[in-house]
Amino acid sequence: MKIVVPIKRVVDYNVKVRPLGDQSDVDLNNVKMAMNPFCEIAIEEAVRLKEAGTATEVIAVTVGKTDSQEQLRTALALGADRAILVETDSLLEPLAIAKALSKVIEAESPQLVILGKQAIDGDNNQTGQMLAALLNYGQATFASEISIDGNSASVTREIDGGLQTIQVSLPAIVTTDLRLNEPRYASLPNIMKAKKKELDVQPIDAMGLDTAPRMELLSVELPAARQEGIKVESVEELVGKLKNEAKVIS
């Protein structure tokens, strides 16, 4: 079984992102970049399926600029067998990214596609579901457990009220939630080995897709700041304030 894992290069989750001075966009000058945390979970799950003998090959894919090769190398160091960069100089929206990924998946015809449920930059939570629609595959989003059973997968999903298990025919799209697994760290020998693994670059222009933006970013601003609070000295004072000042308890 072949597994494709689409990943994304994003601002590191520890970075506090701020708007540019003219509020035209976020300020990404000199910030640390990393693989989206949910994508690390997706890579880990695919690699574990390979280690368990269920999968035979894991292919990491990303759609982005040349510098996204860095995150593909990380994926290779974590255990992916080869990588594909669909190269573009434009900042694409999720629909356009899903279209590009669908072309790669049509060419590779994997049985399973695992990707993160959302990227922590745009917080859109769209690409996996869109990809499933474009390919007419079944989808199992927000997965906390995956088991492969012949021509289908049984996936436990984290939903608002608890957990839901569904059966989805393969090939299928699975998006990862946080508790699916705990990703490993890449070891130094594996980082060295990853440099020699195959990384294929495909220009997006050759795919003949409509990737024109549908949304215009008008401005980026800071959220309204909260008024500065106070420190109370005791539980008694706290309860008093909540009753008499904030009036939120009686």
Partner: protein, 309 residues
């Protein structure tokens, strides 16, 4: 201009997030219709028809929609989409599952989790865990949108008298099927609907210690939540999680106990009206958003708080 709101429900009751979504539809303007897709869900359609300001309810009552799986639900919405300029669903795990699939079927770039309607084509939405707010303008013919429920005050659940039109199942998919569900049972209010929430973090040290929060929650009629750190540590299940990748809450009172206040947690609760933080580390970032901060050991403070309520 007219808007279709996708109802969130459990085949018996309409979920409150639907009312917040109708509120967002009202700001956009034009007629508002609600789609109820489910099985044996006439009671939900009746509830939806009573929602203030709704003109029509479309009811698709069929076993194919019992569990509202994404494939069949998205296909159904697509089939009736041509009548609408906007299609909205709450940004719950249901809405987040179905709407992007619909959006790709319609070749539309979805606008996720809006917190403000600026005009019929322009919306505000948080990005980077709420560190920034983006204003975006969509050029798509149909706007497919998920709505952050806490950002819109709910419309009245009564006062409306919409007509109910039944439609048959169509475009049913067998790509996925329901196996089972484990829905957490609790006498406490739902996290996203509670007017008071008390949450614990890694500082709680164990799942057992959450009973300290539960005692207080029961006195206040509050829901119990948790930070991702507490969920990851296995103290409580994931449906407790408040934050960027969990639930978004905005109660009248949010009490954060033993939570340091990572940006990912703040993203899920900083729009609460009053925030209380109890933490023994006086430099914890949670104090920067707290209206009332108490620097104390939670194992002393919680029993004392419980006693005084």
């Amino acid at each position: 201009m007219s808007t279709l709101v996708i109802a969130e429900h459990d085949n018996t009751n309409l979920k409150p997030a639907t009312l917040n979504t109708v509120a967002a539809a009202n700001v956009i303007g034009g007629a508002v219709h609600i789609l109820v897709a489910g099985h044996s869900c006439q009671s939900v359609a009746d509830e939806a028809a009573a929602v203030d300001g709704v003109e029509k309810v479309i009811l698709a009552d069929d076993s194919a929609y019992e569990n509202q799986l994404a494939e069949s639900t998205a296909n159904l919405i697509k089939l009736i989409s041509s009548d609408y300029s906007h299609i909205l669903a709450p940004a719950t795990t249901f809405g987040k599952n179905v709407l992007p699939r619909l959006s790709a079927l319609l070749d539309v770039q979805q606008i996720s989790e809006i917190t403000e309607v600026v005009s019929e084509d322009t919306f505000k939405r948080p990005i980077y865990a709420g560190s920034c707010i983006a204003t975006v303008k969509s050029s798509d013919a149909v706007k497919v949108i998920t709505v952050r429920a806490t950002a819109f005050d709910p419309v009245d659940a009564s006062g409306g008298s919409a007509s109910v039109e039944s439609i048959s199942a169509d475009g049913v998919s067998d790509l996925s099927s329901f196996v089972n569900e484990e829905i957490a049972q609790s006498d406490r209010p739902e996290l996203t609907a509670a007017s008071i929430v008390i949450s614990g973090g890694r500082g709680m040290q164990s799942g057992d210690n959450f009973h300290l929060l539960e005692t207080i929650a029961d006195k206040l009629g509050a829901a119990v939540g948790a930070s991702r750190a507490a969920v990851d540590a296995g103290f409580v299940p994931n449906d407790y999680q408040v934050g960027q990748t969990g639930k978004i809450v905005a109660p009248d009172l949010y009490i954060a106990v033993g939570i340091s206040g990572a940006i990912q947690h703040l993203a899920g609760m900083k729009d609460s009206k009053v925030i209380v933080a109890i933490n023994k580390d006086e430099d914890a970032p949670i104090f920067q958003v707290a209206d009332y901060g108490l620097v104390a050991d939670l194992f002393n403070a919680l029993p004392e708080l419980s006693e005084q309520l």
